[in-house]
Symmetry: C2
Subunit: 216 residues, 2 copies
């Protein structure tokens, strides 16, 4: 049985998206900067159907995160809908999400949502399944689908928090970017009482990759 | 001329004190755990008049922080007064602060406060001077007093934030403790727009020592 892990880039002041997120700028002001390190590396580019990219320690960390995930859990906003300013009212119907025809996940993705809909089958092995029974059920389905590999709780912050509070997470990987966003979506909100053990720190020029085991 | 630096322990969820701080528990629930690494090392114990303690990488980082400070700036609550539940109404008068007869600073300490009072001279070279003209003036006085050595902005969070926003800080040192406090006093609140460059990461078993240069 694999582990259930969180793997996400976060600013030094604790945000996974900047302030004033909009449909055009879903990561908020400055939020794209959290992912510059990822977009630069070969492993991320390969998974997103792009050429080139850097190799090195950031790439190794990225490839490890991509390779280990046998299934993915995400929230409705990360899929591409949501209650925010990027609500799907008036959008392409049925809404296909942010991820295009060939999403990078190449596995089963379980989307925690209040809106039931049929699974959405994409190219390259990605199928989005919409789970209306909450995060715990989505994680259970992902564990079944992962076939012994690990389950990635991809985001957003609210789904990660729900999973942490419910004791569903075995490991937290934070890619700490030395950036102060000053506002936006906080990752670690109201998760007091979760006990962590730091198990790995890999530092590079642009980012510090930290790994923690959830011990209680 | 020395640099002006911040050096503080912070939880993974961004707090420098836990929730529900009281006179008996000024660091809030769980807040003492942020400082366990420090209390364990020989350099901290020596500066606080205690015997023993561990040597090693945490101790080296601690000694460096202690040795470089030629003067200190802190807020009124860190000195020991404040607008919180530990207000000085009814306390020993004149209130002598948290730090005892022989404080660990052994230098000039400038306390940012709204309450004018005469300087308080302690043993071992520590003098508390109360500055009512704001953080910028306190930093200027500390720079004069430091005699070419560095100036430590010791805390609390509000004074550090004021100094960051006013462009008074050259360097930020965070001792990141793998602990989720779930609430309390946030260190990096409303400091968007401050640009940092990561210059050093030293990882140990209990804490990750991160250093950033303020570049704008």
């Amino acid at each position: 049985m694999g582990v259930t892990f969180v793997d996400i880039s976060v600013s030094l002041d604790g945000f996974v998206a900047g302030p004033n997120a909009t449909r055009e700028e879903p990561l908020g002001e400055g939020g794209e900067r959290l992912h510059e390190w990822a977009v630069r590396v070969a492993g991320w580019r390969e998974s997103h159907g792009r050429e080139g990219g850097e190799t090195g320690v950031d790439d190794e960390v990225m490839r490890e995160a991509i390779d280990r995930a046998g299934a993915v859990v995400m929230g409705r906003r990360m899929f591409g809908g949501g209650e925010g300013p990027w609500d799907d009212t008036g959008w392409e119907q049925p809404w296909q999400g942010w991820w295009g025809d060939d999403p990078p996940f190449r596995s089963a993705v379980f989307v925690v949502t209040h809106h039931a809909r049929e699974p959405l089958v994409k190219q390259g092995g990605t199928t989005f399944t919409f789970v209306t029974e909450g995060a715990e059920r989505a994680v259970a389905q992902a564990r079944d689908a992962a076939g012994g590999k690990d389950v990635s709780i991809a985001g957003g912050a609210d789904v990660i928090q729900q999973c942490l509070r419910a004791g569903l997470v075995d490991e937290v990987n934070l890619h700490l970017v030395p950036l102060l966003l000053g506002g936006g979506t906080r990752l670690l909100e109201d998760v007091g009482g979760v006990e962590l053990e730091k198990t790995r720190v890999i530092d590079s020029t642009d980012v510090t990759h930290m790994r923690f085991r959830v011990i209680a």
